[in-house]
Symmetry: C2
């Protein structure tokens, strides 16, 4: 019963600036989420793929943290170039982008 072929969750959790764990938002995840969302639309993938904001994904040390389901691949996404590579390869072709994957 899947609804989306691929579902991207981008952590947009925000903590106080003095929190030692930091947070994905402080590392630019809100902008990265916007980029994923816009690209999904631009590539005509709306309805097949969704780029969702998520609360803390518990991967703070690897943030900005992104997980792609149904494969359950976790990524560290630093910038738009990283996001674009995930869209080009994983989202559109089903390939895991090893260089950005958190778990090997």
């Amino acid at each position: 019963m899947p609804k989306f072929e691929r579902h991207i969750f981008i952590c947009t959790n925000e903590r106080k600036p003095d929190d030692p764990r930091g947070c994905c938002t402080a590392r630019g995840s809100v902008k990265i989420r916007e980029f994923f969302k816009e690209e999904v639309k631009r590539r005509g993938l709306k309805g097949k793929v969704r780029a969702n904001a998520a609360g803390c994904l518990d991967h703070c040390e690897f943030g900005p943290a992104v997980v792609v389901y149904p494969e359950g691949v976790w990524y560290h996404v630093e910038n738009e170039a990283d996001a674009r590579e995930i869209l080009d390869r994983h989202i559109e072709k089903g390939e895991v982008v090893e260089r950005l994957a958190i778990y090997k």
Copy 2:
């Protein structure tokens, strides 16, 4: 490269009261998310299962909307009894709870 055996996303999107689509938050999803989170902890599933808040999952008409990955099963979760059944059967045993599933 999955991190969690099961990853539950609960829509906690909030819209203005006059928005015709309504929103999952207005239907009690924040409390449902808290219940999932507490139950995951209470059942000793922390680290194996995660109950995450999510932005709009685009299932407003079925809200409160919940999706469980990696299976990608979408549920309408009305109350704690529904959440408990999903935890008992899907999260702990891998069975789809047909009566609560959005897509048949």
